[in-house]
């Protein structure tokens, strides 16, 4: 393979095009994946905000039943895996799964540790830090958002509540959304990019092979056949059908060969003359 022009020319082209395409494919896919995930986290944050706004009135009125109903209804929406509201102590106050209510959550678990890493809990975190991903007991890939419920003047001043104005956070909302749609979109993008990359690769390699064959290999083959033919036959013809520099090479070969034949003929004549003289 490597002792032929085709092999020597195509191997570097193949390595370079394939390698560079792979690098670009992986980097582009990583960038697209980041954008898709950032968008879905933003979407989940918005949804968490909507849930908080929906439950605000019920919380102000301290209406537990209304809160539970709102949360149950939201969790029935397709793609919502769970909705929970924790109080300040980390106890589940409301949940889409009734068995979770009044259960204590460890502050060091994933999702809580982002704010409760140190003794003084953080009161605000970035959008991406609020998100966590895991596989739930049903085997579904879930992205959950933990949003703090901030104290507001209406809460601190409400007659039924005992939250002092100095308390910044009253609890947290934890909403889990299925990642299946996001993962399916990513898989589809990946497949489309893979097909596109393969097509580009095949087209590039095929283009290079075709051009190489047309411009270099076929004329070289003709030149080789011409030289071999002229070695066999004593009568030489002008080289034809050879493009570019190969035509010049073939013509040079043709003139050298003619001169060589002439020299051979003259030396043969001389030898004949010498032997004729000797015979006389």
């Amino acid at each position: 393979m490597f002792d032929k022009i085709a092999g020597r020319a195509l191997v570097p082209v193949g390595i370079v095009v394939t390698g560079f395409l792979v690098v670009c494919f992986v980097l582009l896919y990583a960038a697209i994946k980041n954008v898709v995930i950032r968008d879905s986290v933003g979407h989940a944050n918005n949804l968490a905000g909507i849930v908080l706004k929906s439950t605000r009135y019920a919380m102000m009125k301290s209406d537990g039943e209304l809160n539970s109903t709102i949360i149950r209804n939201i969790s029935e929406q397709k793609g919502v895996e769970h909705v929970r509201i924790f109080n300040k102590k980390g106890v589940v106050a409301f949940s889409s799964k009734p068995e979770e209510v009044n259960r204590q959550v460890d502050k060091k678990t994933e999702g809580c540790v982002v704010c409760h890493e140190k003794a003084d809990a953080k009161t605000s975190v970035g959008n991406m830090q609020k998100a966590r991903t895991f596989k739930n007991s049903a085997g579904t890939e879930v992205m959950a958002i933990m949003t703090p419920i901030y104290n507001e003047p209406e809460c601190a001043n409400a007659a039924c509540h005992v939250h002092p104005a100095s308390q910044k956070i009253l609890g947290t909302l934890d909403i889990g959304l299925s990642r299946e749609a996001t993962l399916a979109s990513l898989a589809s993008i990946r497949m489309e990019m893979l097909i596109f990359s393969l097509l580009t690769l095949v087209l590039t390699i095929a283009g290079v092979i075709t051009l190489l064959k047309m411009i270099v290999l076929v004329p070289m083959q003709k030149l080789q056949e011409y030289t071999e033919r002229s070695e066999r036959n004593s009568t030489l013809s002008h080289p034809t059908d050879l493009p570019y520099e190969l035509d010049k090479i073939a013509k040079s070969y043709y003139f050298i060969r003619i001169k060589l034949n002439e020299i051979e003929r003259q030396s043969a004549k001389t030898v004949d003359g010498v032997s004729a003289c000797r015979n006389k």
């Binding site: 390698g19 990583a30 980041n34």
Partner: protein
């Protein structure tokens, strides 16, 4: 030890007295050197595979990325690292192809392993290694394969040339006229 020294002195005397032996030795040494040099690309590729294995295992011996970031400061974003990686891959490929075209004897394979290790580390510090591992691996594999191919073809061509010169020296006792300038390229 003393005997080895004597042998070397004798060989040098022989070489001085017989130019054909001196040329033969020079050419043979050059062929050996080229044979050793032709494996350089493969050694670099093996080293890169080793580095990639360590990166694949998430640099288990290093402290967590957060600790390093806390002490050294924030790394560049994965997007910036990726842009630099594309730029580096493109430049390295163009440079290697230019060297191949010019037929230069240049041995830069091992420094590429260093650059690629730095990319792995930056992605590790930016906590984006799992997403970008294959990009660095692909870039490294491409560049080092191309470099290996370049070094190997350069050495093969020169070994053939030196073997032909050696045969000429054996026949005539001197180097071909066009290569009298020296033994090494």
């Amino acid at each position: 030890m003393e005997q080895t020294g004597n042998n070397e002195t004798e060989a040098l005397d022989d070489a001085a007295s017989d130019p054909r032996a001196s040329l033969r030795r020079g050419l043979t040494d050059e062929i050996k050197r080229l044979r050793r040099f032709s494996n350089r690309g493969l050694w670099a590729l093996s080293l890169f595979l080793m580095v990639s294995t360590i990166a694949w295992r998430d640099f288990w011996f290093l402290p967590p990325a957060q600790e390093i970031v806390a002490s050294l400061g924030a790394p560049p974003t994965p997007m910036v690292i990726s842009l630099v990686l594309i730029l580096y891959t493109f430049s390295a490929i163009i440079l290697s192809l230019s060297r191949m075209m010019a037929g230069l004897r240049h041995s830069s394979s091992f420094c590429h392993v260093g650059y690629l290790l730095v990319f792995y580390l930056f992605y590790y510090f930016a906590e984006a290694l799992p997403d970008n591992y294959w990009a660095v691996f692909g870039a490294g594999f491409t560049i080092l394969c191309l470099e290996s191919y370049r070094i190997w073809t350069f050495c093969s061509e020169n070994i053939l040339k030196k073997v032909a010169q050696l045969a000429y020296v054996e026949r005539t006792g001197r180097l071909p006229v066009e290569d009298d300038s020296g033994l090494s390229d």
